[in-house]
Symmetry: C2
Subunit: 187 residues, 2 copies
Amino acid sequence: MEEIGIEITLVTSNENKFKEIKNLINFPINSEKIDLPEIQSLHVAKVACEKAKFAYNKIGNPVIVDDSGLYISALNGLPGPFITWFIESLGIYRFLNSINFNNNRKAYVSTCISFADGKDIYPFVGTTHGSISQIPRGTGFGYDPIFIPDGSDKTFGEMTFEEKKEFSMRQKALKKFEKYFKENVVK
Amino acid sequence: MEEIGIEITLVTSNENKFKEIKNLINFPINSEKIDLPEIQSLHVAKVACEKAKFAYNKIGNPVIVDDSGLYISALNGLPGPFITWFIESLGIYRFLNSINFNNNRKAYVSTCISFADGKDIYPFVGTTHGSISQIPRGTGFGYDPIFIPDGSDKTFGEMTFEEKKEFSMRQKALKKFEKYFKENVVK
């Protein structure tokens, strides 16, 4: 872990996201468990930037927040960031069964890591294309058990942490954030 | 139309809602076309109250706003207030075809009219139970062509304004608001 000489707080109410981000990021971060209001939008960047603004106003120090979405082709890109509500309300099995895929199981997942430092808010988006499995497989949180990234036969839920890291949209977003951070913020 | 000696502004970016509310309400209202941010929630009251807060802060005078949702049994109550995104992204035909109803076409519609006067925010919710039609029928906005209220064979989209008024969840919410308003606000 590199020392960066500045404190960053990851603000999330999702314990799973915190664990995953803490394991993916290459410098130390704090965390605060705050339930951030989320605005309705199909764009993870829009949702994440509003969350980052709110989190910064609450904490008063540099923050990062995460927002993710599952974009299903057969639903013309829905439910996007609203996927959380579907999985919470229906469970992953019933969610799968509630959709008519019409033989098109293509989907992509996006995560936006937004960084707010009191001066501005910066979105870093990572996207991974893939498909929706016929049945849930493996463990993991959110849509991990139903999303198969292109280039693998496994769902995110069936992968080890190291395997998932290779395909992770969250990792891609964090890499972009880290690059920006090292080039522009750390002195 | 009764004179009420106080100005109320309906804030909405939806022309159809404005027309409908103006025709349903029994006293004169102004209107402002503002695109209000909406928070993610399955409860129309929560979404509408946040919108009312935002609208009041923008306008500085008493406001009402509207938020509505379609709650489908086969989706365990989803998509609720998110229905707007589904109809916008998919269109009404494709939305209907994207869901596995599994022979359960029950649904209900809810509208919350929220009133903000700078002192507090008041939610007034109206709900109408019914079912989802096999195919879209008639005209109207949003889910009007697919929602059949219990007690009728017609979708909202097939009804005249007077017919729809009898079943309208928006009318029920407005009645509650008008009652409160006459008893507590108008001197």
